[in-house]
Amino acid sequence: MKKLLTATAACALMAGAAAAEEIKIGVILGFTGPIESTVAHMGPAADLAIQEVSDSGMLLGGATVTSVHGDTGCIDSAGAVAATERLVTADGVKGIVGGDCSGVTGAMLQNVARPNGIVMISPSATSPGLSTAEDDGLFFRTAPSDARQGQIMAEIMMEQGITSAAVTYTNNDYGKGLADAFAASYEAAGGTITLSAPHEDGKADYSAEIGALASAGGDRLVVAGYVDQGGSGMVRAALDSGAFDTFQFVDGMISAQLIKNFGAEIDGSAGQHPSPSPELAARFAEIAGGNGFEPSTPFAPESYDAAALILLAMQSAGSSDPAVYKEHVMKVANAPGEPIQSGELAKGLEILAAGGDIDYVGGTGVELVGPGEAAGNYREMKVEGGEDVTVRFR
């Protein structure tokens, strides 16, 4: 009996080795919760890259790839950890596209990915805190850290000759992180911050907050908030009391609603937000169209890129073992090598199989810097004649 069992096991092993490998990739995002409407387009984008690689039949000598979905709820750390645990231990996923919101992503990384040694690439976690988190080289992100936006904002303002500014930020991790990152870069570049004060969202009246900022003075008011929340309230109060005429906006503020709210009243203001260049966006829209999701949704191309990076790194390493291929993620993402656009994953796999080098560009112009996070492409905008005008991409 014992012999029979051993023989069966041996046969099974050999059969497994002979046939092509079947690789599972976990797509763990907030399919329910506060950003469910966005995730509805992020999940299919990640699946698209997985499908593309699987169909090419070129990964690790013809391995098939399937995706397994898990739900983070965006803000439900316990639920996200449980879902990740299940995908890693029960389904045996070899890599994770996720999580989506910064808080759950940190929890998933520390509680599941690190103990089990699984690579995680988040398409949308932007908190600067994740840059310094302990990750054993397992965590990457295709979305830029908010800290990066702070640097870009400081650069833009110094270029425009604005050397003193007041800052108001929405009182949460996002606003505070952005304001701190901006302050560090701006002061290093020689700018002066007269006052950096938080504002609470959801108040009816912001004239008191503006009063303090007006007393402190400054050439421009940096508004690091949300356009549907206190950010617009602060701008309205500043305009009404004549405290500031021009503003610098962050990604949470720049939308059609901002122009609708203020129009020509904020002429001369400027801003920046992460956005792929129009060529990349057009290309991604072309290959992703007709797959049941909207390619222009924020973080959809990032999701595609996250999945693609995991699979390309596997090919480069010649192994689906996370401990091995984690060293190859930065290598396939950055120069030198042949640029690989979105929709060209098969070409990338082929070059890597032949021992060549690639520089993955994908849907967002991926360039991983520092501890493995996207440098990000930013659109610099200004308000002119009541219109949102693109200055340039940087």
């Binding site: 006052l195 004060a197 938080p198 609470e200 959801g202 108040k203 009816a204 009246d205 004239s207 008191a208 907050e209 503006i210 009063g211 303090a212 007006a214 007393s215 402190a216 003075g217 549907d228 309230g233 009404d240 009391s241 004549g242």
Partner: protein, 336 residues
């Protein structure tokens, strides 16, 4: 010149906003104090009564805007006031018939009334959110400013500007008119006098043939009008959001208690005391002082006593101080 600039800055950031806010609080606190004086309980549902009235006004305004009715330079919402007051009055009288009358017949203790009003508050809370949603609604239209910063600077040639919003002017004017009418009603008319008598001594009032149900009815009608007007003015000046109105409860009660619960003059004084304290304590005085003081005394810090996050704490502290040292309020309360 320096002194004039200091005054302009002061008026722009402290004086005018505080007067407008004080008027809104005063109107709200009058409603609280009337309920306390005549019906003898603290009506915790008052903030949400304001929200309900404002909601009706917002809906009417949207309807009027859609069919093209406007009020020239003034906000259309003023035209919808009568309808909103009527709807609010209907709601309040219905609630009184269904809820409060039962406890009145039982001659319940004030603390039971208070808890009952808390329940009513939650119902209204839900009702408003159910109809219009929890989000921010803007319904202001018409001309934004009586005088804007740019116009003021061009007019006076001063370095500092002063803005007076239409809604701020409107708030003060409306508040004055409403208060004058209310006092005339309470002091000169037969119904007003019977309300005061009822408030002063219920048994004596009943003996002299005053119909208690009629007094209660009239009180609710006045409260509905006051709450709706206060709510609409606040919403026009700032913005309408149900949760914000719920939060207004604290400054409203602080105003009514500081002035002396049950005393209308006190409610008005209390409203302004609370408004000015909130604004002056959380204002950064640097700019004013830079203009007002000689150069060598100029402050380098912001001179801000508390950050604006502590706005509500200011009402609390004043409330505690008044209750400790003068429990009946600045004006002796508990009588109309």
């Amino acid at each position: 010149m320096e002194i004039i600039n200091a005054l302009v800055v002061f008026a722009n950031f402290v004086g005018i906003p505080a007067i407008a806010y004080g008027s809104q609080l005063a109107l709200g606190a009058l409603g609280v104090t009337l309920v306390y004086g005549v019906l003898r309980f603290s009506n915790f549902a008052h903030g949400d009564t304001m929200a309900f009235g404002t909601m009706i006004a917002v809906l009417c305004t949207w309807w009027m805007q859609s069919v093209g009715i406007s009020f020239g330079p003034l906000p259309t919402a003023l035209l919808s006031l009568p309808i909103a007051i009527f709807a609010t009055a209907l709601l309040l009288v219905a609630i009184d018939r269904m809820v409060y009358r039962f406890y009145r017949k039982q001659k319940s203790a004030p603390v039971i009334y208070l808890i009952v009003s808390l329940g009513v508050m939650f119902i209204m809370n839900g009702l408003v959110r159910f109809i219009i949603g929890p989000g921010d609604q803007r319904f202001f239209d018409g001309q934004r400013f009586i005088i804007s910063v740019r116009e003021f600077k061009a007019l006076t040639g001063l370095k500092e500007g002063l803005a007076i919003k239409t809604t701020q002017g409107l708030t003060v004017v409306t508040a004055v008119i409403v208060v004058v009418i209310l006092f005339w009603f309470l002091n000169k008319t037969r119904t007003g006098k019977s309300m005061r008598a009822f408030s002063d001594n219920e048994d004596l009032a009943l003996l002299s043939g005053i119909n208690p149900e009629r007094v209660v009815l009239v009180t609710w009608l006045i409260v509905a009008a006051l709450a709706t007007i206060a709510g609409v003015l606040y919403g026009l000046d700032k913005s309408f959001k149900p949760f914000v109105y719920f939060q207004l409860l604290l400054p409203l009660f602080a105003s009514a208690i500081v002035g002396g619960l049950g005393n209308p003059v006190g409610a008005i004084a209390g409203g302004f005391v609370i408004a000015f304290s909130e604004v002056t304590v959380t204002y950064a005085w640097k700019k004013v002082l830079v203009y007002a003081l000689p150069d060598n005394l100029e402050p380098s810090s912001l001179v801000q006593l508390l950050t604006t996050d502590y706005k509500f704490a200011v009402s609390f502290v004043i409330l505690v101080i008044v209750l400790l040292f003068r429990p009946t309020g600045l004006f002796r309360g508990k009588a109309l």
